[in-house]
Symmetry: C2
Subunit: 429 residues, 2 copies
């Protein structure tokens, strides 16, 4: 088995081969490093990176531990907004150049304990907001990888690592996953420890994961929750899926509308019951309320950075200005409207028995250029509601560029959502 | 004006005297340090403390800034669970001895920006859970100050500083404030930035404040929210107050029951309408659900510490054992029950038009001894609901020991709650 195919395996596939004695963990690690070394200059997924030698040294120093561990010493990338105690965490900003946290984030500790090794920190946009880092889309280097978890998505999409951790406040996991063509998952808000994950907006921040197969998300989730690793299960009765068209949320490209339609047809052919969402104006209204809540909270969370405007991007300065000038009533009104729409969504008789919502994960394929990470409006409504989300790759435009579609679940029903996504993945492939 | 009376002033009183030219900030600072130096050996409020010289050096280095600032360089204590970039943050545990954070928590930065100086870190119990620190109750050194924000409460109660910051996951602000006889305030969950406040349980953690007058809470709140400082306002119509008897939540001492009754009579005499809460069994059920949610979440947040059991107290180890062994369904069930009871509380026709709930802030006066910080059950129901709370001093037992009573408000109606508490404070005095 050559190196290229080993780094192309999913996490579970690699672990199965290791368990069966077909390869050693170091073979997978070396294959990943072959790819990293070949592609980092072009893709720029890593902000900080261990050399192959440093990585292997870590592995061999505790080889017995890794051999007995769940993750076998395989690499998991960590977004550079998440604290690590032996690598800097600079949050995509020169304000924190060389910042070396004293502690690992809890999610990092949980993964290390399960036998992961962190090869490096993946590029984030500035404070997980809009200003892009150096990462390019591995599917087309002239395009944005999306953000803010740009490096995590690109590293997984480019077969450098099997999985990575990110975070989402607006569209920071789902959009880059969609643009790079990988699986992206955002947990229900509050589901995972955010200790050591630098916050942007407390009412919006969620932990996220990237992989190339849905089943790997299930494995990482079990580690983060310290729960037994169980199979993702398709429910017995047919899935009832509420389809929210892109145009009802905001600007949506024709190829995305087509992809949504085609995917809906496939799901229906496989026995799912699809119903169209009406009253989408309520969902559309969530876009602006999300932005207001983010502005209010980010301005207080990032008060230190807000005072260093010469080192802050124009986009972030504008967010701070909005947050500073906002009347508290506006913020409270947004919170209230969101709560009402959240209640409407699941209590509406038309939505009775719905297992998940299906919607575009982004307005279309990754835009050309690197000045922006693309528009976040397709994620804002679900993120402000705090719901779990999975985006699946598999659909493409005529040029073979990924078009991501997302399933949105009910709060705290992450397992059910992943079961659905796991089944839908087979429909797509 | 002698030093003793200057350190006895509330924050607003001191600022008013300074503004009117009756004293200088340094006079207040020196009076506070006189008290700190006289009493720290007995009270043990401080885990880390600047010397008077170090404090004054900080003041004089930026005297012009402080003279133009809102808080005039006056001291605000910070609980040692909250990160500070120029003082260690050890979280009450030897696991983190000497831990020096790279950044200030956002709440610290906001206070510094408004002209506060941090004289030191106040004692916290181990990771803001149960194991007491060295602090003793300034009202009776043989008694616990309560916890986890033990040092913050004691330092304000002992006139060492006018105000302090704490945090609450179970009863960590309200109970020590009640036991020490000061004003304690817990914000609606999500109201303030918790960046840099080390988490215990994400569904429960809230920021809290201590002062000797309710009006000081209003001032500090305006700073933390970057909002104009406005007066706390009594509403025009009579307050409608729902009384929740201590015995309906759990064990409650007879002197506390009497204090609640006496205070209720006073409030009624001043025009408030008091109604008794029935169906208190629902409130009582929240006590256990709070504990389960805390166990589940703390175990994941403190996974690093959980692996260092030889440095972890027995009480915390028991919490981790509960959290590790808990079925996820149990955790989810608790979250659901809490949501249902939260909805019942404000939609119950009997509770229509209620402005706040009045309840004991603790089962009685501070217990004797220093092996425990007392029982937290009087706070658990309101904390798990995420509601804003103010406890007021003023009631006492026959020996002059404080008996705290708390008002619980509606979520995000912190301003209205503080207006009520400000009015009730005058009723008590």
């Amino acid at each position: 088995m050559n190196s290229l195919s080993l780094n192309g395996l999913s996490l579970r596939q690699a672990l199965a081969l290791i368990a069966e004695g077909h390869c050693a963990p170091v073979d997978v690690i070396n294959a990943c490093y072959d790819q990293i070394e070949a592609r980092q200059a072009d893709v720029g997924a890593w902000h900080f990176l261990l050399s192959r030698e440093q990585y292997l040294q870590q592995y061999y120093e505790k080889e017995a531990f890794y051999k007995a561990s769940l993750l076998q010493g395989l690499p998991i990338g960590i977004k550079d907004i998440i604290d690590t105690d032996c690598m800097p965490t600079e949050m995509g900003s020169t304000i924190h150049s060389g910042r070396q946290p004293t502690d690992n984030a809890s999610c990092v500790n949980l993964l290390l304990k399960a036998g992961a090794i962190v090869p490096g920190k993946t590029v984030t946009t500035e404070f997980a907001y809009f200003k892009p880092g150096k990462t390019r889309n591995p599917k087309d280097l002239n395009r944005t990888p999306g953000g803010s978890s740009s490096g995590s998505a690109a590293a997984v999409a480019d077969f450098m690592i099997p999985a990575a951790v990110g975070s989402q406040t607006a569209a920071s996991v789902i959009r880059p996953a969609a643009y790079c063509g990988v699986v992206g998952y955002v947990g229900t808000r509050g589901e995972y420890s955010l200790r050591g994950v630098q916050p942007l907006a407390q009412s919006l921040d969620s932990l996220g994961l990237f992989s190339r197969r849905v089943e790997d998300i299930g494995l990482l989730r079990s580690i983060l929750l310290q729960q037994p690793d169980t199979d993702l299960v398709k429910q017995d009765r047919p899935y009832r899926i509420l389809v929210c068209k892109g145009s009802s949320v905001g600007e949506s490209d024709p190829e995305m509308d087509l992809a949504l339609e085609q995917f809906s047809v496939c799901l229906a052919q496989q026995g799912a019951e699809l119903i169209e969402m009406h009253s989408c104006d309520l969902i559309r209204r969530l876009v602006e309320h999300h932005h207001k809540i983010m502005a209010w909270e980010a301005t207080r969370n990032l008060c230190y950075e807000a005072d260093r405007s010469e080192q802050v991007s124009e986009a972030l300065q504008q967010l701070f200005e909005l947050g500073r000038g906002m009347a508290r009533e506006t913020y409270l009104d947004s919170l209230q409207v969101v709560a009402k729409i959240g209640h409407w969504l699941w209590s509406n008789p038309d939505h009775k028995g719905v297992d998940a919502i299906l919607a575009p994960a982004a307005p279309g394929v990754a835009p050309q250029g690197h000045c922006s990470t693309g528009q976040p409006h397709m994620s804002r409504p679900w993120q402000v509601l705090g719901l779990p989300v999975v985006t699946l790759p598999g659909m493409q435009d005529d040029n073979g560029l990924p078009l991501g579609l997302q399933f949105i679940g009910r709060a705290r029903e992450d397992d059910q959502l992943l079961g659905l996504a796991h089944w839908a993945e087979t429909v797509l492939s």
